[in-house]
Subunit: 133 residues, 2 copies
Amino acid sequence: MSAPVRKRTRQGEAVLRAVQASDGFRSAQEIHAQMRAAGEAVGLTTVYRHLQLLADDHVIDALHLDDGQIAYRFCTTDHHHHHVVCRQCGTSVEIDCPDIGDWAQRAARRVGFAAPTHRVEVFGTCPECQTGA
Amino acid sequence: MSAPVRKRTRQGEAVLRAVQASDGFRSAQEIHAQMRAAGEAVGLTTVYRHLQLLADDHVIDALHLDDGQIAYRFCTTDHHHHHVVCRQCGTSVEIDCPDIGDWAQRAARRVGFAAPTHRVEVFGTCPECQTGA
DNA sequence: GTTAGTGCAAATGATTTGCAAACAG
DNA sequence: CTGTTTGCAAATCATTTGCACTAAC
């Protein structure tokens, strides 16, 4: 086995750039479409592969949508945090709250559960979408 | 159109009973398999349809798993609450925490998002699974 | 030259839907 | 009877994988 050496490729960088360019959660399909629209020649498969790779490296965040799709987002902060996601446009804002982590840990322990992890997702309508359509 | 009259059927009740009998989140497929194993003659399609129906009526809770499946759980309490779900066996315990709701509302409003809703999922290993295998 | 990355086409797997037969009211 | 519900098979659809090929190092 050994550490798989990662090569620097045009497509790989393009995918990362595309996610960073988005201001909210975007599905793999959307990111691919956006790249094609921007003139990038990339296969859908490759986009999926890089997205998973980046998520594994914790460079981006993965979020499972209600309709079964997976949405990704580039995160600037590397400490634990959550997001408020706009139901309409997908724009997201990072929010910070140390209390939640503590609460989750305590709540889980209280009922005898070990190694608790948590996932918090807050959805709402962003300022943009409230005004416009 | 008009309100579609809901008829009482053997299958419909069997599905509800099956979900109530489970002590944790179970996927539609698992519930179907369990019913078949119990001798119930029910089609997979029908199980899916009733599960959706029950979720729409808020009789049961729907949870999107990381692997893409949808898990359902029967909830006894009707006020706002969350669950701690066991990673191994799926058993879940209801936990209560009014603070989370407040926090989510405030956090969302603070960044200008309207009509916030939230979803909190805490995962851990239950006492059973810590001891046993 | 080796090894990792690419991308098309085909496979997967959970969920949905079309539709004719079975059933509740 | 009349409108629902059922359930099989076929359709969807996002995501994954097989594999021959190209690009990195």
